[in-house]
């Protein structure tokens, strides 16, 4: 079976080609990923969807807000209900939060600066559609590149109880320190999922961490996300 994955291009997406490349050329294994212009997207044709990073609509007004009104999100909403997997990376996360697929909001980094840097994140939930190949407590090396990634929610307790916090920024050894939290996120939160766990949003970029040649320590932790997704889709359809 081929697994069909849509990579949605919003006006201003800029990690779309990168994500497509990783899905088709690095993960490949049975995947057929396709770039879809945001208002051409039809969910029925796909098994899963990636909202890539970038600056949809220039991030004007607020990152993710204008894209959250795109017809692509209406389609995605149907997908979500049907149990298909959706991942939002960086700007994709911001869009999913603004579209209320995911709880919380992403605010301007506390340093007021854009930050491009490799960080570590600790896995807190490996039951989602994108983390089944990870273990709880694993520390992943992965880069961030964003100006508005400070996670905030007024429902922290709920998130914790429902196991919706998927990743937290940590040190290499998995400690949660202020220093290891690059943008001032609440409780070092780097990624969250929906209640049903088929929708994940995170600020770091798995597609930039999927090949040893691009990673400072020759790791490829980013692949785990996409491989988990493939596994999830296979399990779902069988």
């Amino acid at each position: 079976m081929t697994i069909k994955i849509a990579v949605i291009q919003f006006p201003g997406s800029n990690c779309d080609l990168d994500t497509l490349y990783v899905l088709n050329n690095v993960i490949s294994n049975g995947i057929e990923a396709e770039l879809i212009w945001h208002n051409h997207f039809k969910e029925a044709q796909f098994d899963g969807v990636v909202l890539p990073g970038g600056f949809s609509f220039g991030d004007y007004l607020r990152s993710g807000i204008i894209a959250a009104h795109s017809p692509a999100l209406d389609e995605a909403r149907i997908m979500l209900k049907g149990g298909k997997p959706i991942i939002g990376i960086c700007n994709g996360f911001q869009i999913l939060a603004e579209a209320q697929f995911l709880p919380g909001a992403l605010l301007r980094n506390d340093s007021l600066k854009f930050i491009c840097k490799w960080v570590n994140i600790k896995v807190e939930n490996n039951k989602t559609a994108f983390t089944s190949k990870m273990n709880i407590g694993d520390v992943l090396a992965i880069p961030i590149a964003h100006g508005e990634g400070r996670y905030y929610t007024d429902k922290l307790k709920e998130l914790e109880e429902n196991n919706q916090i998927v990743f937290r920024y940590s040190t290499e050894n998995g400690e949660l320190t202020e220093q290891a939290n690059p943008n001032g996120s609440l409780e070092s939160i780097a990624g969250v999922c929906n209640l049903e766990q088929n929708c994940l949003g995170l600020m770091p970029h798995p597609e930039r961490a999927s090949e040893p040649i691009l990673s400072p320590k020759q790791t490829m932790h980013g692949r785990l996300f996409f491989e988990s997704m493939v596994e999830f889709i296979k399990r779902r359809v069988s």
């Binding site: 220039g58 004007y60 600066k113 854009f114 590149a145």
Partner: protein, 748 residues
């Protein structure tokens, strides 16, 4: 300023009386006011290179002399063939004046402009670089303000368009206090076919002319005139409103342009930059040997009531002009519609060799297509500054401080310290190509997906060296920038430059320019490096204090690395490995950081370049690479060799044991040896087992290479074998000093 009159309209122009006469003679009539405006802009220094053109003639004809050069000077960007069917385009430009008064938008629109230059070669922009100059930061809120917002402007624009900023350079020096320099470079990658689809000319009569992108507004009229005078010469009121960049629209323009080119229906492409439509339309038709018929009413404007003068001269951002085959019109327009990009078919080309622009029933422009580009040149006087002899004669004082203390001072100095504060703000990884990232090498290295090739790019120049000797300093800059890509394993393929100088009407300032250009020409001819483009920014001169900036002929080099195993990085890797010093160290402290940081001295003997030796050193390195003998490599420059070694220790927290006993000639003082900025040197990490083999190669190629020590686990630098007492440095302390300087100055 001369005034011209046409039909009752008056216009102040920068044209000289002879130019005015020449234009009237050429047309055999009085130009319309719009035409006057077009001549005025196109004859400005910025567009016409009237002062610099005679000197730039020294450069070889790159397209003719190098078979892999597809486009050389004269095009929007230089283009080279890198094999496997790929073409690489690159270009560098200045955006100094706008950035000096509005650092954020000035720098941002600079990035916007250079992206368009690459895009109009038909290829995708894949990397940016940004050489910058400011006054010293310490105790200087103005410099801090400029620095902060220039970096933010570049970051916001580059990040949003999804083009990684993979490198750059910053120098701080008093001479840039009132004239900061913001140079921006861009690299594009595409197939040879893409490039062939997008010449910057309209050579076929009957094609459609389409304007796509942002609307035409009143902003930025006369931006190029602004760039062609000194800042102080233009009063506040004269200054055109600095433009506001729109990276979001630019991103869509990039995608729409690339998709349109891929249709195969585009026959010509040109960005709208300085001079706006005037420049683009006259160059397209003039260079293509055609003419054009343009209907002004089709041009979409931002404000109602704009007249033809304003429309033809507007430099509104984010616009591209397309020449499209008649049979492909609908296909191309469909692409623009998909991206919701505003566009209009504004006319057609014809074989009249005349550019005609109609505004209703009146012909507001009716010019031979080549008339505008045939600007006259002006011979400028040059004179070596009198103060130079005295400066060069300055002696290095006897050090009053311990060598240790000096080294700690140097590593913390603004020009040497880490620039991480800058590149953390740049998305330098978007594109999944960045193999050697900022801070890990002398240049930025990108993989070229679909091949086993990598490109390495670096920019810079040592302004202090050029100040003392522009000829040697420029050559030294070439040695350094080539050295940067070589250090990462690349062979330098081609060069572009950005000449930032003072007022060309001042003989001393023009002398600097003239000698810098000669240095470039001589060096590049000898070392077989094609010069494929450049840009000249004059008038970086402070009228009040009568001082020009230090001459800054910025060099950009792009090199190619064959094979992943040949990508070399900067950090030291493993204890017990050998450390070798390649190249000769001489008492060349003129313009050094040592002089400036420790003694506040500008003079002395600057480094001299010996092309033969440089060439031998490079060949030696390539030979080592071929045999896989190099584990880390870093070229020696600002601050001298200990600074270089310390930088290599930081990442993996290693130390070194150095013994200079047999290394330097007895005529050198310790400080001369340690802090010399002699060019063309490298610090190389190798394995002890390879030592004999390396020395064998060195002997064959007659290069000067010496083992100076080995790596140790303890993060300390031990220096023995000096004339004076031994030195011990704490790597962690150096690293801390290296890292905190800029954050401490910029973050209160």
């Amino acid at each position: 300023m001369p005034k011209v009159i046409s039909n009752g309209d008056e216009l102040d122009v920068d044209l000289t009386q002879p130019e005015i006469k020449q234009i009237k003679d050429l047309l055999e009539r009085d130009p319309t006011i719009t035409e006057w405006g077009m001549f005025d802009v196109m004859h400005s220094e910025h567009c016409s290179y009237k002062s610099s053109r005679p000197k730039l003639k020294l450069f070889e004809d790159a397209e003719k002399n190098y078979d892999y050069v597809l486009a050389g000077p004269g095009q929007d960007a230089g283009v080279i063939d890198i094999g496997d069917g790929f073409a690489l385009a690159f270009r560098i430009e200045s955006h100094n004046h706008p950035s000096a008064i509005e650092p954020y938008h000035g720098a941002a629109t600079g990035i916007g402009g250079i992206i368009r230059d690459i895009l109009c070669m038909g290829v995708r922009p894949i990397a940016l670089l940004d050489p910058l100059r400011f006054g010293p930061l310490k105790g200087n809120p103005h410099s801090q303000w400029l620095f902060k917002y220039v970096v933010k402007g570049i970051a916001d624009y580059g990040n949003c368009t999804g083009i990684p900023t993979i490198g750059g350079e910053v120098e701080f020096d008093k001479s840039f206090e009132s004239n900061c320099l913001v140079n921006v470079a861009c690299i594009g990658l595409g197939t040879i076919e893409d490039f062939e689809h997008a010449p910057s000319k309209a050579y076929n009569p009957g094609d459609y002319v389409i304007l796509m992108g942002g609307s035409t507004g009143r902003d930025g009229i006369h931006g190029v005139t602004f760039a062609s005078r000194t800042l102080t010469e233009m009063s506040e009121a004269d200054r055109p409103a600095v433009q506001i960049g729109d990276p979001f629209t630019k991103k869509l323009i990039i995608e729409a342009t690339i998709e349109a080119v891929k249709t195969g229906y585009v026959r010509g492409l040109k960005d709208l930059g300085g001079g706006g439509l005037s420049c683009a339309l006259s160059e397209l038709t003039g260079d293509g040997g055609t003419g054009g018929d343009i209907d002004m009413s089709k041009i979409f404007t931002r404000e109602p009531g704009m007249n033809s003068f304003e429309i033809m001269l507007s430099e509104s951002q984010e616009r591209m002009a397309f020449i499209v085959k008649p049979e492909g019109l609908e296909t191309v327009l469909e692409v623009f519609r998909k991206f919701e990009m505003a566009h209009a078919v504004i006319g057609r080309t014809d074989d009249s060799k005349v550019l005609k622009v109609k505004d209703g029933n009146s012909l507001v422009v009716n010019l031979p297509a080549t008339a505008l580009s045939d600007a006259p040149t002006i011979p400028r006087e040059e004179k070596r500054p009198e103060y130079l002899d005295k400066l060069i004669a300055q002696q290095t004082p006897e050090p009053k401080k311990d060598l240790e203390e000096i080294m700690y001072d140097l590593i913390a100095s603004e020009n040497i310290c880490s620039k991480e504060w800058v590149y953390r703000q740049y998305d330098h990884e978007v594109g999944v190509r960045s193999v050697v990232k900022c801070g890990d090498g002398d240049s930025g290295v990108l993989r070229i997906i679909g091949t086993n090739k990598f490109l390495a790019a670096s920019v810079g120049i040592n302004s202090k060296h050029c100040y003392l000797n522009p000829y040697e300093g420029t050559k030294g800059g070439l040695v350094e920038i080539c050295g940067n890509v070589i250090a990462n394993g690349a062979k330098p393929m081609a060069m572009v430059n950005c000449c930032n100088f003072g007022n060309p009407e001042i003989p001393e300032s023009f002398w600097y320019f003239s000698h810098a250009v000669k240095g470039m020409a001589d060096f590049c001819t000898q070392l077989r490096i094609p010069i494929i483009g450049g840009n000249v920014s004059f008038y970086n001169e402070d009228e009040v204090n009568k001082t020009a900036i230090k001459p800054t002929p910025v060099i950009m080099i792009v090199g190619i690395i064959e094979g992943k195993e040949n990508v070399i990085t900067l950090p030291f890797k493993k204890t017990e490995h050998d450390i070798l010093l390649l190249g000769e160290t001489k008492a060349e402290l003129g313009g050094s950081e040592y002089h400036s940081v420790i003694y506040d001295l500008e003079g002395g003997t600057p480094p001299h370049v010996d092309e033969k030796k440089i060439k031998a050193n490079w060949n030696f390195l390539f030979e080592l690479y071929n045999n896989n003998l190099v584990k880390a490599n870093h070229d020696v420059n600002k601050g001298g060799l200990i600074i270089t070694i310390a930088e290599m220790c930081f990442k993996n927290n290693l130390g070194v044991d150095l013994d200079f006993n047999e290394c330097y000639d007895d005529n050198l003082r310790d400080d001369e040896f340690l802090f010399s900025e002699s060019v063309g040197r490298f610090i190389i990490e190798t394995q002890p087992k390879d030592y004999n083999k390396i020395m064998e190669i060195a002997k064959n190629l007659k290069v000067n290479v010496k083992k100076i020590g080995f790596l140790i686990a303890n993060p300390e630098i031990h220096i023995k074998g000096l004339k004076g007492k031994d030195v011990k440095l704490d790597v962690n302390k150096m690293k801390k000093l290296y890292e905190v300087t800029i954050p401490n100055l910029m973050e209160i």
